[in-house]
Structure formats: C-alpha cells, structure tokens
C-alpha cells in the first residue's frame, strides 16, 4: 500500500541527489540536470500532498495545476539554460563551471 511517507522519502532522496549534483559536478549540463531532479522532487512532494492529505476536491485540483505550472516553467527555464550553455560552449570551448570565471575579480 503506497502512503504519503513513500512520496516524501522519494522526494527527499531525489532532492538530495539533485543538490549533490549541483554542488559536486563541474559540468554545466550535469548541473542543469541536477536542478531538474530537484524540481521533480518538489513535484513529487506536491502530488503526494494533493493525493493523500484530507483536502476538498478544489484543493486537490489546485495541487495538480501547480505541478503542471512547475513543469511548464521548468521546460522554459531549461530551454533558456541550454541556449546559454550552448553559447558559452561556442565562445569558451568549455562547459566546466570552474573555468567560467570572467566576472571574478
């Protein structure tokens, strides 16, 4: 039987993996993927609450709508970020985040 706790554990695990990826990885594309993982973790958390907590029908619908919004905005953000990384690669021939330090004093 699947319960709310499962969703929460899965969400926390995904978020922790995503956070680790963002902090540990040097490759910009992998960092981006890790961010997506973190967003998915949030989504799973939200859908868990929407499904299992004792809400009215309208509130449940609101939780699902919120997730659709997050997915849409994540897609838009991803498109933008990929474009930036591509331009970066064209210019600097690297996507290593440590080497992208032009603005550093």
């Amino acid at each position: 039987m699947i319960e709310l706790a499962h969703f929460q554990v899965l969400g926390a695990a995904l978020f922790a993996i995503g956070l680790y990826g963002v902090l540990a990885r040097r490759n910009a594309v992998l960092i981006l993927m890790s961010i997506e993982l973190m967003l998915s973790a949030v989504n799973i958390n939200l859908i868990g609450y929407a499904a299992f907590v004792d809400f009215t029908e309208a509130q449940r619908a609101l939780g699902q709508v919120l997730i659709i919004f997050v997915i849409t905005i994540a897609a838009a953000e991803l498109a933008l970020a990929i474009a930036i990384i591509l331009r970066l690669y064209r210019n600097r021939s690297t996507v290593n985040a440590d080497e992208i330090n032009l603005m550093k004093f």
Binding site: V22, L23, A97, D98
Partner: protein
C-alpha cells in the same frame, strides 16, 4: 528711471552688437550704433535730471519704492530717494558721463571692442546712478558692487596687456576689502534697527535706538567701505594703477562714477556719522592724511596721468576732511567742482596723449601749447580750477571746506590743510609748465590737436569749470549760494582773511613752481640731490606698495600655506582619500570569499536555506 535707461542701453548695445555684427560683418554700422544708444541714454538721463530738479524744487524730497523681497517678517523695499544730495550727484554723473562718452567716440576710434566699451560705460554709469538714488542700504550695496564691476571691466579694458589686467584685479580686490566692511556695517545696522531703509535707520538712530558701540562700529565699517572706493590712505594704491585703463575711463572714474561713491556714501550717511563723533574725527584725520600724503606724491610723479591720479586721491582726502568737519554742502560743492575740473584735466591729458603717440611721461613733453592750443588752454583752466584760484569753482569750494574745518575742528587741521592746498597748487603748476610751456620738445614735433569730437567736450567742461564757481554766491533770497541750497539757513559768506591766505598760498605755490620748473632758479634736480632720502621715499610712493607686498608675502601667504596644508593633510589625505583607502583595504580583505567556484556559492546557499529553516522551526513554531 534714469539708471534703468542707462542699464537698458548696456543690454541693448550688447544685443545689437551681436545682431548687427552678424548682419553686417565688417561694416561700419555696428561701430556707430553703440555710442548712439549709450549717448542717447545718457542724454535722456541728463534731460530727466532737469525734470527731477524742477520737481524737487517744487515738491520737495520724495521717495518711491516697491516691495522687493519678503524674508520672514522683514519686507525689503527696492526704491529711489530723491533729495538734494542725489539730485546734485545725478546731474554731475549724467553730465560728465555724457561728455566723456562723446569724447570717447574720438579717443576710442578704431578699437576692436568699440561697442563693448560703450556698453561697459553705460553699465558703469547706470550702477552709479542707482547708487546715488538708492533709498535703502541693501539696494545701495548692490549698486555699490556694480560700480566695482564697472570699474573692473573698464580698467581692464585692454586686458591683453598684462599690466592692465593686473591693475583691474588690484582695483577690484583693494576695494573689496572695504566692501566687506560696508556689508558688515549694513548688517550691524539692520540688526540694530530691523530695517535697511536709510531714513528709518536715521530715525531710529536719532531717537537713540542704536547702542553707542554698535553705532561706532557700524559707521567705522561703512567708512572702511568708503575708504576703499574713494582710495583713501592706505587703500589708495589701486587708483594710480587704474591708469592702465583708457584715459576717458580715468576721467569718468575720477570725476563722477567711482571714487565719488565713497564720498557720497559718507555724505548720505552723515546724520549717522554725526552721532558718532569719534568716527567723525577718524574720517577727518584720514582725509587730512590722504590730502597731504597724496599731494606730496603728485609732486614727484612724471607720468601726467599719475600726477592727476594722486591729485584725485588728495582731493578726495580733502572731501573726507570736510565731511569729518560735518560740512556737507562744502563737500558736495567741492565734489562737483573737482569732478568738472578733473574730468577736464583727464580728457585734456587724453588729448595730449592722443596727439603725442600715447606718450604719458611729462618729461618727454614741453611746449605743447603751440601744437595743441585748445587742449592747452582748457587744461590750464582745469589746472587753475583745481589749484583753487578765484573765480574758478575750485577756489570757492576749497574755501568753504577750509571754513568748515576752521569752524569745527582743531586749528592744527587748518594749518595742515593749508599745506595741502599749497601742494595742490604746486603740482598742478608743475605739470602744466612741464607739458605745455617751455621750449618744444624735439620728440614732440609730430604733436597735433585732437578732432572736434574730442575738444568740444573739453571746451564745454572748461566753460563749466569757469562757471560752476558762481553757484557759490547769494543771488536772491531763495538762493543763498550752494550752501543755502543744500542746507537751508546757511548762506555764502566772504571770510576775508582765509580767502586772502589761500590765494596767497596758491600764488606762492605758482611762483615756486615757475621758479623750479620753468626758470630753473631753484633746481629741482639739486633739491633731489640734497635730500636724497626724502626724494627716494617719495619716488617710491612711501613704499606703500612694498609694504603691501611684504604683508602679502609674510602674512597672507603664510596663513594661506597653513590653510593649504590643513586642506591637504586633514581634509584630503585623511578625510577624502583616507575614507576611500580604508574602504578599498577592507574590500581587499573580504574579496577572498568570492572564490568564483559554483559549488562554494551553492553550498553557502544550501546551508543558508537550512539555517533559515532551522531558525524558523526553533523560534516561530
């Protein structure tokens, strides 16, 4: 109305000069427009003077003012006051300025800034007219500073010449020293009476509303302003330097618009000065010292313009002496008589220079009476007038002053003043003899008479210099001489012994000058050799300029250096730069936490979020 006319002439000329200068490049049109406007304004002013005079005689003195500023509870008026004093000054200023401007057409012909010259002239005259008409001290102060500006512009008219630019600065800065005193004096009076209005201040002062200390301080400070403007010892240094300006400007400055402002100021404030007898005594002493002091200097100068300059200083001293004795009518009479004579002399000197290729050294002249008879004749009249020979104007005015001094002051003043009269006659005779008489100097073969536009004003002034003296007499019961006009109840009197004495002194001085400079019976060269110390002191102008230089070098500049040091070390190095440096140092220290590695920021952010969540959890739930 009159100053407004002249002031609008100033702006009109400037605007028209620009417009016409663009419209007709290189043509003669703009060069004629400026003098026409300026002289037209002056002529209108002179006509208005008669209207005002008639009105004054019929309706008595009056004021007209409009509200200007309201500061808190204080209303400041902007107005004119027409009384006998201002009417006499208006007449003198408009008339002299008119003649000087006509003369300038000839003298300044061909100057590249011909139009600007007339514009500045109009401004100068406008400022002076505003000054004499002002009915409150603030307005008067504004006009006073405008007069200073006018003199600065005109003395430095040929600013390409370094000495002219420096002379203009010298005049401006020297008079500024006095101006500061005047301003403080005005503020003191305002604090004591709550008004800038002159008649209100008199009223309050007369009813004892001003404390003795305040009154003495304020009048002394106002006199300081007058000393600066009227070139009284020791502020006289700017006036001889002002000879760098065009000669007609000197005529204007000396006769009508600039140096008379100081005398006018004291005359205007005389009711206040009379309440402060100590200051009156200081005025008299300053005047007396200046009178004799400048007279001795005029005796050794070789530049004719400088002789005239020192003579002006000397006679301004005489006027101050007379004011110190409280003889207002005599002062004003001498102001007019001296103004006419001095304008005549300066314009004559300008004519001599014009005909002698700009030479001003009297020793390089001589015998010019054959070459320029009109100039010579008018110059001699002016010189006699200034030396004070009857029946010329200078005689009567000087005599009334001496009478006033005799009546009000210690006899010692009279004795010293008579010595000054002797000097006055001596140096005038000297300059006339050196320039116009004796054999013709070979260097001056090419000397020639000036054009009519220059000698006609000379002739008019000469007639006036001859005629003004007759204003002194009693004609009808309504007109009891100039003294009676100024202060009813007085009238002209003949004081036989004093007149005789002063005539004898004047004639004695003439004889002395004739013996020394024409016949060489008393060789002035030998005199100079016998008293080398006195001669050297005189030629070096009592080392006053050197004394100023010393004070500037050893006092002013030392203080200035200290201030500069303070500025550099305290304000700049520790204040401005110190702040910047400390910020930069702290920034250098803190910038190491900006590693530029993404994971540093990410970790910091993660820990921050967790920290915030913990805080929220611990404290808010």
């Amino acid at each position: 109305m009159i100053p407004a006319l002249s002031a609008s002439a100033f702006f009109l000329i400037i605007v028209l000069n620009r417009v016409l200068g663009f419209a007709f490049p290189g043509s003669r049109v703009p060069s004629l427009v400026a003098p026409v406007i300026s002289i037209g304004a002056m002529l209108a002013g002179f006509v208005l003077f008669w209207v005002v005079l008639v009105d004054l005689l019929q309706n008595g003195p009056g004021t007209f003012s409009i509200g200007w500023l309201t500061v808190g509870e204080t209303e400041i008026q902007w107005g004119v006051m027409v009384d006998k004093l201002s009417v006499v000054m208006i007449g003198l200023v408009t008339f002299i300025a008119l003649l000087v401007q006509v003369y300038s057409i000839g003298y300044m012909k061909g100057d590249p800034r011909f139009g600007w010259y007339f514009a500045a002239h109009a401004l100068f005259a406008a400022a002076m007219l505003a000054l004499v008409l002002a009915d409150n001290l603030l307005f008067l102060y504004v006009a006073w500073e405008l007069v200073g500006l006018g003199s600065y512009l005109l003395i430095g008219f040929w600013w390409e010449k370094r000495s002219a630019a420096q002379a203009a600065k010298k005049a401006f800065i020297t008079t500024r020293i006095g101006d500061v005193g005047l301003l403080i004096g005005i503020i003191l009076l305002f604090r004591a009476t709550g008004s800038f209005d002159i008649s209100t201040i008199f009223h309050v002062a007369a009813s004892g509303g001003i404390g003795t200390v305040t009154l003495n301080t304020a009048t002394a400070l106002i006199f300081l302003g007058a000393m600066g403007k009227s070139a009284q010892f020791p502020f006289h240094v700017w006036l001889p330097a002002a000879m760098e300006g065009p000669t007609p400007v000197s005529a204007l400055i000396h006769a009508a618009t600039m140096v008379t402002a100081g005398v006018f100021l004291v005359a205007r404030m005389l009711p206040l000065f009379e309440l402060a007898p100590d200051v009156m005594m200081a005025v008299a002493i300053t005047g007396l010292v200046t009178f004799v002091f400048a007279g001795t200097l005029a005796l050794v100068m070789t530049d004719i313009k400088r002789v005239l300059a020192y003579s002006t200083i000397s006679h301004l001293g005489l006027m101050m002496l007379s004011l110190g004795a409280g003889a207002l009518a005599a002062t004003l009479f001498h102001l007019v008589a001296h103004g006419v004579s001095k304008a005549l002399l300066f314009l004559g000197a300008g004519s001599v220079m014009h005909g002698s290729d700009g030479e001003t050294d009297a020793r390089k002249m001589g015998g010019l009476r054959t070459k320029m008879p009109i100039t010579a004749f008018t110059f001699v009249i002016g010189a006699l007038g200034l030396a004070g020979l009857p029946p010329l104007a200078g005689f009567f005015s000087k005599d009334e002053i001496l009478l006033g001094v005799w009546a009000d002051l210690n006899p010692a003043f009279l004795v010293v003043a008579l010595f000054g009269v002797f000097l006055s006659a001596l140096y005038m005779a000297r300059v006339v003899l050196l320039v116009f008489f004796g054999p013709l100097n070979p260097e001056r073969k090419g000397a020639h008479e000036s054009p009519p536009v220059m000698w006609v004003p000379l002739a008019i002034l000469a007639v006036l210099a001859l005629g003004v003296g007759f204003l002194a007499f009693n004609y009808t019961t309504d007109y009891q001489g100039f003294a009676g006009f100024m202060s009813p109840g007085h009238h002209f009197e003949v004081t036989g012994w004093l007149m005789g004495l002063s005539i004898a002194i004047t004639l004695g001085a003439f004889t002395g000058a004739w013996l020394a400079y024409s016949r060489d019976t008393i060789s002035h060269a030998a005199l100079a050799q016998r008293f080398p110390l006195i001669y050297r002191v005189l030629v070096n102008k009592y080392y006053i300029d050197e004394a100023y230089q010393w004070v500037i070098d050893h006092v002013v500049l030392v203080i200035a250096r200290l201030v500069a040091l303070f500025d550099r070390v305290v304000i700049n190095d520790t204040g401005v730069d110190g702040l910047a440096i400390s910020i930069r140092l702290s920034a250098m220290r803190t910038r190491v936490i900006q590693t530029g590695y993404l994971y540093t920021y990410g970790t910091a952010m993660a820990f921050g979020v967790v920290g915030l969540a913990l805080i929220w959890w611990i404290f808010l739930t």
